[in-house]
């Protein structure tokens, strides 16, 4: 009996590979091959001078060295992290709060559907359109400034886009507004996946909502939190559209809001394939390290293995 079953299982399991074929084929063609060309490019001096191709000449790690010594890589990495944090911290706090409220059956909030629908709405707007809108709203003579001046809060218009912190905060805020609805939906989905009898039991035992949240919801939410954290971090490292359009690709003032991808874009602009390749590899490594740290800190993998 058990023998027969094992044979069957093995036969079924072949399907695991079969079902993976579409993913793998697509991945290899559209991601792996481009990735390899990109890495390969990073070891060459290879760019366009006008319409003339310079190179490709093999130069080993020269591009990597140049990026570190001349390229302010660290500065742009810090910019990216700062702007990401400005957006992410309020986002995760508000999302947890809203998620907890929405999934709390005892609160019986009315109009939930309306609110859920509304908070996800900003995610629908194109990042380019959204940043253009912000650019006009917060410009020197824009509506926000005229409101503040009229209300007597400011004596003369505040130049948002000439201030390092204001520009960073605006970018962070836009990311926050665009993504907290998404995060809330994900967290809520996770919270609703928690067995309601757990909450009931806790309530019967006289636990306060706060206790329920910290002792039950949060620990059980860990896998989905890790997912949110990692996708947001990766998204944050790829931040491009919003600061690019808001600062017209310059990361102004003094490149304090230039992100890594904007910097990459600068090299793509000059068709400097070697440099762009090396920068991509750095990005790749950075993303890997950060994600690894997050994985280690939250350690869901370990638990899973233990469970099994």
């Amino acid at each position: 009996m058990s023998k027969v079953k094992r044979g069957k299982v093995v036969r079924y399991n072949r399907w695991g590979y079969i079902f993976l074929i579409p993913f793998m084929v697509t991945f290899i063609i559209f991601q792996l091959i481009p990735l390899c060309t990109t890495i390969y490019n990073s070891f060459f001096e290879n760019y366009m001078s006008g319409l003339k191709q310079v190179g490709p000449t093999f130069i080993g790690l020269e591009n990597y060295k140049t990026l570190i010594t001349e390229g302010d890589l660290g500065k742009y990495f810090t910019n990216t992290l700062i702007v990401w944090l400005i957006g992410f911290v309020p986002q995760i706090i508000l999302s947890l709060l809203l998620g907890a409220w929405f999934s709390d059956p005892s609160l019986r909030l009315k109009g939930q559907r309306f609110f859920k629908t509304v908070i996800y709405l900003p995610n629908l707007i194109m990042a380019s359109a959204f940043s253009m809108l912000f650019f006009t709203l917060f410009s020197d003579g824009g509506p926000i400034n005229s409101m503040l001046v009229q209300a007597g809060i400011l004596s003369e218009p505040f130049k948002f886009f000439s201030s390092i912190s204001a520009t960073r905060i605006l970018i962070g805020f836009m990311n926050f507004v665009m993504w907290f609805g998404n995060t809330t939906i994900l967290l809520m989905a996770g919270m609703m996946g928690i067995d309601p009898s757990l909450f009931e039991a806790a309530e019967v035992d006289g636990a306060t909502p706060r206790q329920i949240f910290w002792k039950i919801t949060l620990p059980l939410l860990r896998p989905i939190l890790v997912y949110v954290l990692i996708t947001s971090l990766i998204g944050g490292l790829q931040m491009f559209d919003v600061p690019q359009i808001l600062t017209n690709g310059e990361g102004s003032p003094v490149r304090s809001s230039m992100t890594l991808i904007m910097y990459l874009n600068k090299h793509l602009y000059s068709k400097n394939y070697g440099m762009a390749g090396a920068l991509s590899v750095y990005l790749f490594i950075l993303t890997g390290i950060l994600s690894f740290i997050v994985f280690k800190l939250t350690g869901p993998q370990k638990e899973k293995k233990e469970k099994k």
Binding site: L51, G141, G142, V254
Partner: protein, 469 residues
């Protein structure tokens, strides 16, 4: 229910698009079709059977498409309201491939298609592409060889004799071959607010106003006078940048080395003083609030720097209440002469429609009748000495926007003086980066030395082949 809503939406969208289609047919303006039909028989472009049936034109906006639609004899547009939808010339289909300028996309597109153009299928070949002054050198380069020398098309120097020299210099390669032609001459001047001039300077006569702005020192002194009355001398420091950068003694890049000219540094120093005294701003051109606001009396801007296309199209003449609308601008030479913009037509190497391309270039850039029509209908300052002379000679060149002033004599004189020897293929990138880093300097975010270092870094990013120190 939902399905119903959805299908209703789809249906209404379809109706809307059909109506849009009908409209196009219905409102087809008579002049363009009547201008098209009779000429068609006369066109007789000797389009022998060996030549292609598709003419592909690379553009970044609809300017050339509408010029071709409105002025090229025998051109039948597909959609009279939308020039870039293409059309037909005889039995040749004309396609416009539009790639926006933003983020260098247009140049990227040219870089992608032009080098391998000759080996493409006949119908996919680019036949004509357009370039702007800032990057024209890149595409007329002899070794790149993506634009055909006009002589190879059978266009002689004599054919181009009425054009201004600078418009030919800019598209002349190292071997002296001309590889493009323009229908515009974009010499420019100082466009001043007549009301402000009267109030502060006591006159709005162009010759007298010129005395107050005749060189940079006088200009800056006048700025203080204007400042006292609450006027900005110019909307933004970026306005005067082109004037300074047009009058350098050496190009941005010479022999692969970046040079920062003294006149550019003079712009930095002059502008810093003006900005600190609040006589101007660091607004970006086109979408800055102060910059746009100055087109209206309430904006209190004294002057802009620009060519004919600038005051005709960019200053809100069609908006009620704007200074342009009331004819409140005047034009004078300003501290230094300069030019700005212009579009050149290049024949793509490998085109399979050389005869038609030749005819388009000749018609659009040398035909007196067509060019006068362009000047009068579209208010372009055309690249044709004879036509400009005619316009300057009588009232046909008076412009309402300038309070009836006739600018053509001045513009024609300016066009003669434009000196193209100080341009390099790197101008667009260098100009952009320079203005960006020095905005931070003006606003006190970094020192002059830091700004210079940042500029060099930015140039190195854009053009790795240059030495910057």
């Amino acid at each position: 229910m939902k399905k119903k809503v959805l299908s209703a939406l789809l249906a209404s969208a379809m109706v809307a698009s059909m109506m849009a289609g009908c409209n196009n047919g219905g409102t087809n303006p008579a002049p363009s079709s009547s201008a098209g039909q009779p000429a068609q028989s006369g066109t007789a472009v000797n389009n022998d059977a060996a030549e292609g049936k598709v003419l592909n034109i690379q553009v970044w906006n609809e300017e050339f498409a509408s010029r071709l639609t409105n002025h090229y004899p025998g051109y039948e547009p597909n959609d009279a309201n939308n020039p870039t939808a293409g059309g037909k010339i005889g039995d040749v289909t004309v396609n416009f491939i539009v790639t926006a300028n933003q983020n260098n996309a247009y140049q990227n597109q040219l870089d992608a298609v032009l080098p391998g153009n000759a080996s493409l299928d006949a119908d996919k070949k680019t036949d004509i592409f357009l370039v702007e002054a800032d990057y024209a050198l890149k595409y007329v380069d002899a070794s790149a060889n993506v634009a055909m020398p006009l002589s190879e098309l059978g266009i002689s120097d004599a054919d181009l004799s009425k054009q201004y020299q600078y418009t030919k210099d800019i598209v002349t390669d190292a071997n002296g071959a001309i590889r493009g032609a323009s229908w515009q001459a974009c010499s420019a001047g100082l466009i001043y607010n007549r009301a402000a001039a009267k109030e502060v300077l006591g006159t709005d006569d162009p010759a007298k106003v010129q005395e107050f702005v005749k060189d940079w020192d006088t200009f800056n002194a006048t700025a203080a006078k204007l400042g006292e009355k609450g006027y900005l001398v110019e909307a933004s420091v970026n306005d005067s940048f082109r004037v300074y950068s047009n009058n350098v003694t050496s190009p941005w890049v010479k022999d692969g080395k970046l040079t920062i000219d003294n006149n550019i540094m003079k712009w930095v120093d002059d502008s810093k003083v003006l900005y600190d005294a609040k006589y101007t701003t660091t607004d970006p051109l086109w979408d800055g609030d102060t910059w746009k606001g100055g087109f209206y009396p309430a904006g209190k801007v004294f002057a802009y720097f620009g060519p004919a296309w600038f005051f005709n199209f960019s200053m809100g003449a069609d908006q009620a209440g704007s200074i342009a609308n009331q004819g409140g601008w005047g034009l004078t030479t300003g501290p230094q002469g300069f030019f700005w913009g212009g579009t050149w037509i290049c024949a793509a190497q490998g085109t399979d429609n050389p005869t038609l391309v030749k005819d388009i270039i000749l018609t659009m850039t040398t035909d007196n009748a067509v060019m006068k029509e362009i000047a009068q209908q579209d208010s372009d300052c055309v690249n044709n000495k004879e036509v400009l002379k005619e316009l300057a000679a009588d009232a046909s060149g008076n412009l309402a926007i300038l309070g009836g002033q006739n600018p053509y004599e001045m513009l024609a004189k300016g066009a003669e003086l434009v000196d193209m020897s100080k341009i390099s293929a790197y101008d667009q990138g260098c100009n952009e980066s320079f203005q960006t880093v020095f905005k931070d300097y003006f606003e006190g975010k970094q020192t002059k030395d830091e700004a210079l270092a940042a500029f060099k870094k930015a140039v190195k990013e854009k053009y790795p082949e240059l030495t910057v120190d």
